[in-house]
Symmetry: C2
Subunit: 239 residues, 2 copies
Amino acid sequence: MSLDKVKALTFDTGGTILDWHTGFSTAMADVGAKHGIEKDWGSLANEMRRKSLGRMLRLGENEPPTYNFDDSHRMSLDEVCAANGLDAFSEEERRTIWWDRAHNLQCWPDFPDTLPKLRSKYICASFTILSFRIIIDTARKNGLSWDAVISCEAIGKYKILPEAYAGCAKFLQLDPSECLMVACHNFDLDAAKAAGYITAFVRRPDEWGPEGPPDPEPNPQHDIIVDTFPELAEAVGAA
Amino acid sequence: MSLDKVKALTFDTGGTILDWHTGFSTAMADVGAKHGIEKDWGSLANEMRRKSLGRMLRLGENEPPTYNFDDSHRMSLDEVCAANGLDAFSEEERRTIWWDRAHNLQCWPDFPDTLPKLRSKYICASFTILSFRIIIDTARKNGLSWDAVISCEAIGKYKILPEAYAGCAKFLQLDPSECLMVACHNFDLDAAKAAGYITAFVRRPDEWGPEGPPDPEPNPQHDIIVDTFPELAEAVGAA
């Protein structure tokens, strides 16, 4: 595998860059504390994530999407609340979770100092199923400067549909083989690989909190497999 | 007019931020010099601009676009060459004009230091009929960090269609009245205003070189009218 042709790094952003688990579980715990409710908030945050992700993957396959990831967060939180006796959470309180916290997620600490190094050599774009606005707001909060945000919101076809990967490469005016997809998820990277991308698996063992990620072991087909973003920078010659 | 509600500044980018006239006229002159040809290159650059702009405005009105602004630059340059006895320009030489130079245009000198000030208070997005890739590449060249690039390429409807302005606001998840459109062109600002945006006219008297812009006087309906980007920063409380 040669990286000579690679011109752009496209980053899965939720999970790979942003720590949604800590964000959502602490936001839920904060609201719970107001009501004197104790729950396994980490587990509920994961439940919300599973539901919201499930709503987004392959969205647009048969008809144009009618909602984005913010709507998905809202709907999924409502379901989690209904199923777990959290009806006391007001609409306003829920919004502090599905909007405020989603737009203020912290990124993993090894990323902010590495992004400028990667950008010195490659176009670095967020390529995400999250909404444009989540990426814009979290980038501002974490001091990240993406070269562009390519949200599936703009493609109308969501990962892991092949049209999503083709659409991102088209907007970048690159052949898929000139794009390196960076993610901590096999499902995303496998689909990118099938669409002709080079792939890099970056391990994020804390993505799901103590529960651990559902699919932590990188499929061996990926071109780069690393534990950290500085290691990724080394691997792509931008350290 | 109150700016209290404004959360995002959306920037027309070709012309308002980027000096296409100097870029294209010098690139054409360089190729002409190789062939010992003398022409009024500034005038030919303007002809190329008129043609390429004409191909893009309202694109997507009746059917999905089949080309982007890079294609438009290529087709328009071919027409200018054919009409002006420049058949000697090779395909490779033409590419140095319509691709290489378009992706390396200089921005106006009063913008790079002002953008971070504007970003400290507002989301600042390129909202453009240019391709994603032109904005990505010119931002990298000029050291600009946009919060996002919203290209009409992703909306499928180009300015001055109302759907373009609605689409940009939708991706930002803002009401149009929370968006301040910044441009040096009445046609863009008038359409933005009609779509509910607040508008700021920034004069760029050199956009068309010595010939001068075709419509330099701001329509009085615009909410802010200034000569420079530092003046814009003052006007929006971000100086």
